[in-house]
């Protein structure tokens, strides 16, 4: 069986389309959770803030939020670059810069959540 496979263009994006939406839902739920915690406690102070991040469940939720955010950001950035940056070399360069940045941010996230203070 011969399958036509596209390396570029808009023919391979269904998975990304889905991830963009699922990651959005994860972020929305986390946002509502965080807002509810702050409102429930009548505001935010250092003790509540550090207690929150000492909690394994909250750290895991924050990690899921950040992974969703970074992947979501990648899909959005790729969409914008595909639409406005026509020269392939410039686009590839910008895409590379963004991927490197996002991976670095993931490292920073791990450092914040589970690294030694």
């Amino acid at each position: 069986m011969v399958t036509r496979r596209y390396a570029v263009g808009a023919h391979y994006g269904l998975m990304d389309w889905l991830v963009q939406r699922l990651s959005a839902v994860v972020m929305a739920l986390y946002t509502v959770l965080l807002l509810a915690i702050v409102l429930w406690n009548g505001g935010l102070d250092y003790a509540l803030w550090t207690d929150l991040f000492a909690h394994d469940g909250f750290r895991l939720a924050s990690f899921l939020f950040m992974v969703s955010l970074l992947y979501h950001a990648w899909i959005g950035a790729r969409d914008i670059l595909m639409d406005y940056i026509k020269p392939a070399a410039v686009r590839l360069l910008l895409e590379t810069v963004i991927v490197v940045l996002l991976v670095a941010y993931l490292g920073w996230t791990l450092q914040i959540l589970w690294g030694t203070p």
Partner: protein, 124 residues
């Protein structure tokens, strides 16, 4: 293929309301990526480090320049959030008629601005 006319005189293009919400979704997303993510990570790491750095961050957000940047990020997040919910509803075919789509785009603009004012007033 028939040659189509290209009309890209940007100042003369009149975007309908859903088009304005759409381009603002892109602008806010790009701004959140460029400025929002690094500022978020920096703020969280500093605020968790010690009571002193937490107090420092709290004092820092009152600086006029920080206030402008943070308010723009707050609006970006809220607009992206509200417009995103609208797109999810459109995806499941809720409100796809012209009148409903125009109304929901107006709601997105108004609600995200109002929430920015309310949350901004509460934070500062």
């Amino acid at each position: 293929m028939k040659k189509r006319p290209v009309y890209l005189d940007l100042p003369r293009i009149r975007l309908p309301l859903p088009g304005i919400v759409s381009i603002l979704h892109r602008v806010s997303g790009a701004w959140l990526l460029v400025a929002g993510i690094p500022i978020l990570l920096y703020a969280v790491s500093r605020s968790l480090a010690s009571p002193e750095t937490y107090a420092g961050m709290k004092a820092g957000i009152s600086h006029p320049l920080a206030k402008i940047v943070l308010l723009s990020l707050l609006w970006s997040y809220l607009h992206h959030f509200c417009a995103g919910i609208r797109y999810l509803l459109l995806d499941i075919h809720r409100g796809i008629e012209l009148a409903a789509a125009r109304r929901s785009s107006a709601i997105v603009l108004v609600v995200s601005l109002a929430l920015t004012l309310i949350l901004g007033a509460r934070i500062w």
